[in-house]
């Protein structure tokens, strides 16, 4: 190596380290990562106590990793490098066929699952109204033919069968319906949720179970609301080369009154909140995103339905609103009070517990069902 080149290389290295250090330190810190949809580590607090316990060091390491300048770009570069090196997955997401990103599901923690299923069973004992239970398989299960052979992901069919057996009550065959329509875009290619179309087929299963009339095509008015939706699976995989998803609605909002509750106070809500279409997390367009309680009142003649649910129900509710007079949505991650009492207080006629399978396996709040 010639001396001139040594000077060059020394300069390049110092420039890289110095620039990364200074830019990271000087640019204003971000509090939230839109791409990853999570709060970033706050600046570590220096104190004698935090240093002697090692807390400070750990926090500083997390902080420095969360706030590296151009963090999102580095994450995407890693995803590209993995893809180019022939990897079939990155960060638990498979680069599947047909430009689809599929989140793989890991083996669950048995004891948590047992707690969850017995909590759902417990709701039957605590209330007199009929309770139905539905588990939604993930896209990785319905679109398993897009996955490479042998890829490790949970056998969701076997798990749903087992959980339905252990539940013992009336269950919803969502798996069968979604399977029958798997040639259609019933899941997003870049998000873990079902599409509006997928929710529409699921709504038929639920309405049938509730002995309500099925949906009629003429009631539905498909409308595209966004053509550049990049969902959670996209963020997780960092796979920026994938095409965005299209987001649609099928049920017009007229005559439907939504009462939301985002911050502990009741406020007028809406089935669709177009403001969220301008953000990264566009799925919050449906009902405005996560909230503990949400009540939908309609002009339809039908039962008062309680839906114990996760975010899959956000896009499902418009269809149920065509047949139910009231729908009460409880999200147990945020609603921390007794469910049987809620049923009593609001004169509920029917209850449905509806979860995405991967959410259900990991959920830690279902015990509230029988409190």
């Amino acid at each position: 190596m010639k001396h001139k080149q040594s000077v060059w290389i020394t300069g390049l290295f110092c420039l890289f380290l110095g620039a990364m250090a200074l830019l990271t330190l000087l640019l204003p810190p971000k509090k939230f990562s839109e791409l990853e949809n999570r709060n970033l580590e706050p600046a570590p607090k220096l104190s004698a106590q935090s240093v002697s316990s090692g807390r400070f060091m750990k926090d500083a390491e997390n902080w420095s990793s969360d706030h590296v300048v151009l963090r999102d770009r580095w994450v995407q570069l890693k995803a590209l490098a993995e893809r180019l090196s022939g990897k079939l997955e990155n960060n638990g997401v498979c680069f599947a066929g047909e430009d689809t990103l599929l989140r793989l599901v890991e083996e669950p923690d048995e004891t948590q699952v047992e707690k969850n299923i017995s909590a759902v069973r417990g709701l039957i004992d605590k209330t007199d109204i009929p309770v139905r239970f539905g588990l939604i398989p993930t896209a990785a299960s319905i679109w398993a033919d897009r996955l490479p052979a042998g890829i490790p992901t949970l056998d969701e069919t076997a798990w749903i069968d087992r959980l339905y057996r252990e539940f013992g009550g009336s269950t919803l065959d969502l798996q069968g319906t979604l399977d029958a329509h798997k040639a259609e875009p019933i899941f997003y290619r870049t998000d873990h949720h079902w599409t509006t179309l997928g929710a529409r087929y699921a709504a038929d299963v639920i309405l049938e179970a509730l002995e309500l009339d099925p949906l009629r095509e003429e009631e539905l008015q498909p409308r595209t609301v966004s053509e550049d939706f990049y969902g959670t699976v996209y963020s997780r995989a960092g796979a920026w080369w994938v095409k965005p998803d299209e987001m649609t609605t099928m049920v017009p909002e007229e005559g439907i009154e939504v009462t939301s509750n985002f911050t502990g106070k009741e406020e007028p809500g809406s089935l669709y909140v177009p403001a969220h279409l301008a953000e990264k997390n566009k799925y919050a367009f449906f009902l405005g995103g996560n909230q503990p309680v949400c009540v939908i009142r309609t002009q339809a003649k039908g039962p008062k339905l309680l839906l114990i649910r996760d975010s899959y129900s956000d896009s499902l509710v418009p269809f149920l609103a065509l047949r139910c007079s009231e729908i009460h949505l409880l999200d147990l991650r945020y609603y921390r009070l007794s469910v049987p009492e809620y049923i009593e207080d609001h004169d509920i006629d029917q209850a449905v517990v509806l979860y995405g399978l991967s959410m259900f396996l990991e959920d830690r709040n279902l015990y509230l069902l029988r409190r």
Partner: protein, 465 residues
């Protein structure tokens, strides 16, 4: 602190380099000493005291040995050496092996020794060996006594090699500690070496390591999957360890030091004896110089020689961690090395080159299984599957998938553990290399940063050493 973290790369290292080069020459050891203590304190906090105590004790012992020798009192000098060894081996034994012995005794029904649940201070196996070598070197007149406590402290705590080696003997570093030159040529060579090491760790070792975790954790392991697993572990540990050594050597150069090499493409060895001349060289030479030769080496009766070999390999094994599988691993190599020296070596030498290498690889892979699996039950089951016992299928879909998933990385890993790439690079005309170096450097740093920032998988393999 670990090298492969954003905090080290983008905060600690630039600040320390800046302070070091701003400081006047005679202050530089002091800057390095403070920086190294901070580096160690960051991860180990109160245990920094042990390192400081070790520094003081060995500094004093070095002075004593020197004084007794000057006074012609060799007996006292020997006693000072012995006292230093007792201290170093004492803290090493206490922090590393106490719990192993205590729980071993308890499982035999002897409960008079309590299990203390001691946390192993990182790097203790490395720095106790380094400080021990110092008093011996002074005694043997291989090194001059170090009268400057700051300089000696710099030797013990020197952060580039503090937590994962190479094990640097005082006699190699003594003169450099007192006087070394920092030039752009040396710094640039250090930059390239460090980046190679970082890439080995982040792009290869961490990557392939995930494959080992998958195979190890698989409930339906097949014969093919088991071999794929140990292959991936052997690549992980090589790139991890040699990557750390490269980073240490590279950082050393940036601060003006020349450390000795620790690895010479061990996986192209054509005998087990050859492998151990290429793998973790600083450890093998340490045991050779400070244990094997003092015991008499091979210049004694055959029985004694075999005993010496046995002791060295038992010690080498258990040095790698306080768990019986490491002892087994050391003795496994004792058996092969003894066999090679007695008769096997001559037989193997008659084989064509390809078969010689195959023989080495198979022995190494089985060895790595012993090394990687601490639980004997699990180890037994794993080895059984490797050799098709116990009805394991030859192949399973998971192994097929993972092979496809990791194929390119494995090929790069296998080729990367041979001298091929380095040879090719050397054959390029200098004009080409002049272009290639900065391009590869920037590409390497960018990819490493990407994997560093994106990856939560960054295991530290040496917490047992």
């Amino acid at each position: 602190m670990v090298f492969s973290t954003p905090l080290f790369l983008f905060a600690y290292l630039p600040v320390v380099l800046l302070l070091y080069y701003l400081a006047p020459l005679k202050w530089r050891n002091f800057v390095l000493l403070l920086a190294s203590l901070f580096f160690y304190f960051w991860g180990e906090r109160i245990y920094t005291v042990i390192m400081l105590a070790s520094t003081l004790v060995d500094y004093t012992h070095g002075m004593l040995v020197d004084r007794f020798k000057r006074a012609g009192n060799m007996k006292k000098a020997r006693m000072a050496v012995a006292s230093s060894m007792i201290f170093n081996l004492g803290i090493l034994f206490f922090f590393k092996y106490w719990d192993l012995i205590a729980s071993g005794l308890q499982s035999l029904g002897l409960s008079f020794v309590p299990v203390l649940g001691i946390h192993l201070p990182i790097g203790i196996s490395f720095y106790t060996f380094q400080t021990m070598s110092y008093t011996v070197d002074v005694y043997r007149a291989d090194a001059k006594v170090q009268k400057n406590l700051i300089t000696f402290g710099t030797f013990v705590t020197l952060f580039p090699q503090l937590i994962a080696g190479p094990i640097i003997k005082y006699k190699e570093l003594g003169e450099q500690l007192d006087q070394r030159t920092c030039t752009a040529d040396r710094f640039a060579a250090g930059v390239l070496r460090f980046t190679v090491g970082l890439a080995k760790k982040l792009l290869l070792a961490n990557n392939i390591g995930q494959l080992w975790d998958i195979c190890k954790g698989s409930s339906s392991l097949s014969v093919a999957g088991a071999w794929l697993g140990v292959l991936s572990f052997s690549l992980q540990i090589y790139f991890d360890f040699s990557g750390y050594s490269d980073m240490a050597i590279g950082l050393g150069k940036m601060f003006g030091f020349e450390f000795s090499e620790n690895f010479r493409y061990p996986y192209v060895a054509d005998s087990i004896t050859d492998f151990w001349r290429r793998w973790h060289i600083s450890l093998s030479t340490w045991f050779r110089e400070y244990l094997y030769i003092p015991l008499g080496g091979n210049r004694c009766s055959k029985a004694k020689w075999i005993r010496n070999l046995f002791l060295v390999w038992a010690a080498t094994g258990i040095w790698h961690g306080a768990s019986w599988n490491y002892l087994l691993w050391g003795l496994y190599y004792f058996v092969w090395l003894l066999a090679e020296k007695l008769f096997l070596g001559k037989l193997v030498n008659k084989l064509p080159g390809l078969f010689r290498r195959l023989y080495v690889i198979v022995i190494l892979l089985v060895g790595w299984a012993i090394f990687a699996l601490e639980d004997f039950g699990q180890l037994g089951r794993y080895l059984a599957v490797m050799f098709g016992l116990g009805g394991a299928p030859l192949f399973d879909p998971l192994a097929g998938y993972e092979l496809r998933n990791y194929l390119a990385v494995l090929i790069v890993g296998i080729l990367g553990s041979t001298p091929l790439a380095a040879d090719l690079f050397r054959k390029l005309p200098e004009g080409c290399r002049t272009w290639a170096r900065p391009v590869l450097l920037v590409l390497g740093l960018a990819l490493c940063t990407a994997y560093l920032v994106a990856g939560t998988y960054n295991p530290f393999l040496y917490f047992r050493f």
